[in-house]
């Protein structure tokens, strides 16, 4: 109990006396997870939309595959990316292992299925009347698709938020492919794991609290955007 109180107190003193090293760690966390999320969204949202809107052979299988990949253990993804990027692996010539880029790549694999799958669900859940009405009003197939996607934007944003939660909280994959190198690939979650290993429980807990606060701020921002989207939707 004592450790817990101390952890929270320490969190606030750390935030108050934000030092260069901690700031670097926080920024790198945001950069890596941010890049992974943006790329996952750029690929995942259109992919989810296509799967949701179009009927094509193998569609059911792709959906099942995406849903399965949503539960990928980060350590397995880390190992996979490690073997891929290792100097002895197929992409070793790129020299990306133990760089932030490798961490971004691993996190994309983790976030992409979540974004695509939840985005697909959001689009499928749109009332079919929207599509029918737009056709009746003389919309082209493209305009119909746009109408459906607009209607589903609340759910699409939710899929991005879920992807964000996955990558920000993740430690297993980036520890393997990033190597937790001080000042270079050390992010919030790997620092927490390291400090826990070193027995600095208060510091580890404090960092956890800071991570939570950052996530809270970002989620509040996304929620505000979401609400704006809701208000604009005619129900």
């Amino acid at each position: 109990m004592n450790s817990m109180t101390e952890g929270f107190l320490k969190a606030f003193s750390l935030i108050y006396n934000l030092d260069q090293e901690l700031l670097g760690i926080i920024l790198l966390s945001l950069k890596v997870s941010g890049a992974a999320l943006i790329i996952s969204s750029i690929i995942g949202v259109p992919a989810g939309a296509v799967i949701g809107l179009k009927k094509f052979p193998g569609r059911g299988f792709i959906i099942t595959l995406l849903n399965t990949f949503m539960g990928l253990p980060p350590v397995v993804v880390g190992l996979f990316v490690y073997l891929l990027l290792s100097r002895s692996g197929p992409l070793g010539f790129m020299g990306l292992l133990y760089t932030p880029s490798a961490m971004v790549a691993a996190q994309i694999i983790l976030a992409l299925p979540i974004v695509a799958s939840l985005c697909h669900s959001a689009i499928v859940a749109v009332d079919p009347i929207i599509g029918q009405a737009s056709i009746t009003l003389g919309a082209t197939p493209y305009q119909k698709a746009v109408a459906i996607i607009k209607e589903a934007r609340y759910g699409i944003l939710s899929s991005v938020i879920a992807g964000f939660g996955r990558v920000m909280a993740e430690v297993g994959a980036i520890l393997i492919v990033g190597g937790n190198i001080a000042g270079y690939t050390r992010v919030m979650t790997t620092t927490i794991a390291l400090e826990t290993d070193k027995g600095n429980f208060e510091l580890a807990l404090a960092l956890g609290v800071i991570l939570l606060i950052i996530s809270l701020i970002i989620n509040i921002a996304l929620h505000l955007i979401q609400r704006k989207g809701m208000a604009g939707t005619i129900r």
């Binding site: 950069k31 941010g34 890049a35 100097r87 002895s88 932030p100 971004v104 001080a182 070193k198």
Partner: protein, 272 residues
């Protein structure tokens, strides 16, 4: 609105990509062990080396087995580890060159303060292990680390096969976590003196050293460069600068001057 979002996204991506791989040539990856990283040794000696040579050493801390494997795969430029047999084997296989012994500390057996297996007073590690077997629990790193290798070689000498026994707990964790698990389980374990000294007070361990000073428990650290003939991309020149510095007078002094928070010297330089 859409334009602003787009601009922000583009800006973010550009900023990330520009910075993500901002790495210079004057840097090497050193595969090393949790004991050297967690004790703070690297935090003490690397800035001195970097200042002198301009070479940044990026440390990836794993168990010795994993660290050697990293070098074998070409994912590190230099390895700084402590498991002589594994090291010599890897050198013989041609994965590493220029192995040099750098420093040592020693292993100790720690156990619950009340010493349930009555190990205190025994001088021989092998006898102590024999006595622990069955009469108390023993926590093993179980992770192919240098400490784990040392422990297994001792078990081998006792003729006891501990694996699978109910008193033998393989935890697969780093040294400090293993100590904490031993503390919770009221068990014995083999640890390096550096980790023990650095963490026993901080972790409130209700444990003591029950055996120390046996020559069997000598813990030699060595450094070796990844063979550039196996992996042409490795930064052999910079790696050798690091190796040569570690065994130079200056590097040895840096290691010897490293003290933990309580003023204990954790590693004794002994390069030849």
């Amino acid at each position: 609105m859409k334009k602003t979002v787009l601009i922000i996204i583009l800006f973010l991506v550009a900023a990330i990509l520009s910075e993500v791989n901002a790495s210079s040539d004057k840097e090497i990856i050193c595969a090393s062990t949790t004991s050297t990283e967690n004790s703070g040794l690297f935090g003490h000696i690397l800035p001195i080396f970097e200042k002198k040579t301009g070479i940044k050493v990026k440390v990836v801390a794993r168990g010795t087995g994993a660290a050697i494997e990293m070098g074998k795969r070409g994912d590190a430029d230099v390895a700084f580890v402590h498991a002589k047999e594994l090291e010599l084997k890897a050198v013989e296989e041609g994965f590493f060159v220029n192995r040099h012994e750098v420093m040592y500390n020693d292993f100790v057996i720690i156990g619950p303060t009340n010493d349930p297996a009555k190990i205190k007073g025994i001088k021989s590690t092998i006898e102590a292990f024999k006595k622990i077997a069955g009469s108390a629990s023993f926590v093993s790193r179980g992770d192919n680390s240098g400490t784990n290798n040392m422990e297994l070689s001792i078990w081998k000498k006792t003729g006891i096969v501990p694996k699978g026994q109910e008193w033998y707990l393989e935890v697969g964790q780093g040294m400090e976590k293993t100590q904490r698990i031993a503390n919770e389980k009221r068990a014995y374990t083999l640890t390096d003196r550096g980790t023990w000294l650095a963490t026993k007070d901080k972790d409130n361990l209700d444990m003591v050293i029950v055996l120390e000073g046996d020559p069997t428990l000598f813990n030699q650290y060595a450094v070796m460069a990844v063979n550039p003939e196996k992996h042409t991309h490795v930064k052999y020149k910079e790696a050798m600068e690091f190796v040569n510095w570690l065994i130079s007078k200056e590097g040895q002094q840096a290691i010897g001057s490293f003290k933990d928070k309580n003023g204990n010297q954790l590693f004794i330089p002994n390069a030849k």
